[in-house]
């Protein structure tokens, strides 16, 4: 059985909560559209991985076993906006290398820029 990315994120979030997690908290923390929230929650309930009582979700034993087996909770989210594009990557400079400092970044009092 496979989970969608959103389902895996919800399951992981509910698993990490101490007991149960409010529906609105799940919705707000994951910044989902209402449709995605509803569909994913429904799918997880149908699979028997979470239960809802009084607008709060709790992970079931089946859900815990599945999560641990698949290690969804260990998987890091792929944050593409944090990846530096290749064009911007250059060879790292050794700390003892000489380099030309940028004047604008020098301390004006120390270097008497005026």
């Amino acid at each position: 059985m496979k989970l969608s990315i959103i389902e895996a994120r919800i399951l992981s979030l509910v698993y990490k909560s101490s007991h149960s997690l409010g529906a609105f908290t799940v919705y707000r923390r994951l910044r989902l559209t209402y449709k995605d929230f509803y569909n994913s929650i429904n799918s997880l309930i149908e699979k028997g991985f979470i239960e809802e009582t009084n607008e709060r979700f709790q992970i079931t034993q089946l859900g815990k076993e599945f999560l641990i087996k698949k290690k969804y909770y260990l998987k890091k989210e792929n944050k593409i906006w944090r990846q530096v594009p290749n064009d911007f990557i250059q060879n790292s400079i050794s700390t003892t290398d000489l380099y030309v400092p940028k004047i604008a970044l020098l301390d004006s009092r120390q270097f008497k820029k005026d």
């Binding site: 529906a23 609105f24 919705y27 707000r28 209402y34 449709k35 509803y38 569909n39 607008e55």
Partner: protein, 279 residues
Amino acid sequence: MLNKEIFKILFHLVKMQPWLAEKSQEVEHLLFNECESNNEKNLILKLLNRFKYITNEHFVKDLNQIVEKITSEAKYEVDNTIIAATTIDSSADSAQYVLYAMKPIFQKYDWDTPKLINNTNRIVREFPSYSNVVFVDEFIGSGKTMLGRISKLKRDLKDKDISEYSLRIYAIAACKTGAQLLEQEGIELFSSITLAKGISDYYIEDKEEKIDFMRRLESLLLPEFEGRPMPSMGFGKVEALYVRENGNTPNSVFPIFWWRYYANRTKRPTILLRSMGDA
């Protein structure tokens, strides 16, 4: 992002009406921008809860049920029965959609060559070879349109001196008001779903108060679109709460859910869709 209040409302509403999960923004707009008081909000929530939503799956099931009923009726044979849409002009409508969708289902019931006619005006010329007329449609609201079609057909048949024939209507859904009107006129009707009036059939003492809430909401809407008046409380005042998945909402449904324009002619987000050309 929805705020906590609307989220809580939707959370409970969507349990009863799952189709509204995709309409969260529109529901929020109606409840929090258009409703002025909690009384109006509560009324809209009650009405949304009472909606009859037909999924595609449900629709196909109902079509099968209707075709099964027609083909198993003793007097109906493939060579003596006309199955006709209630359409009278050249514009596309749901009766033709229903008729076309039934085509393969008739084959399933071994009616190899059913006489399917997509325009009421073409029925008469099939007489006297055929003697039974079965009208099909998706939705019957006030019943007045259907009654008009039947009256015209009866006149045309009378003009041709034809008196031996049978008439029956099959529809996916019918409002109680329309069904009663047709029944009073002695016309047989079968519908998979019968709909009560959304307000009048649910409230007794505070009925007028609820109607006033709805009228206040309707006062926000453009009173007329291209010469056609906004059908207050639904066309024929039948207060319908019906929608089919991907369907063109009938004008019998409360216009607050589908009428596209505000009184100042700006567009408004609507929970349901209806082609304003049919308004």
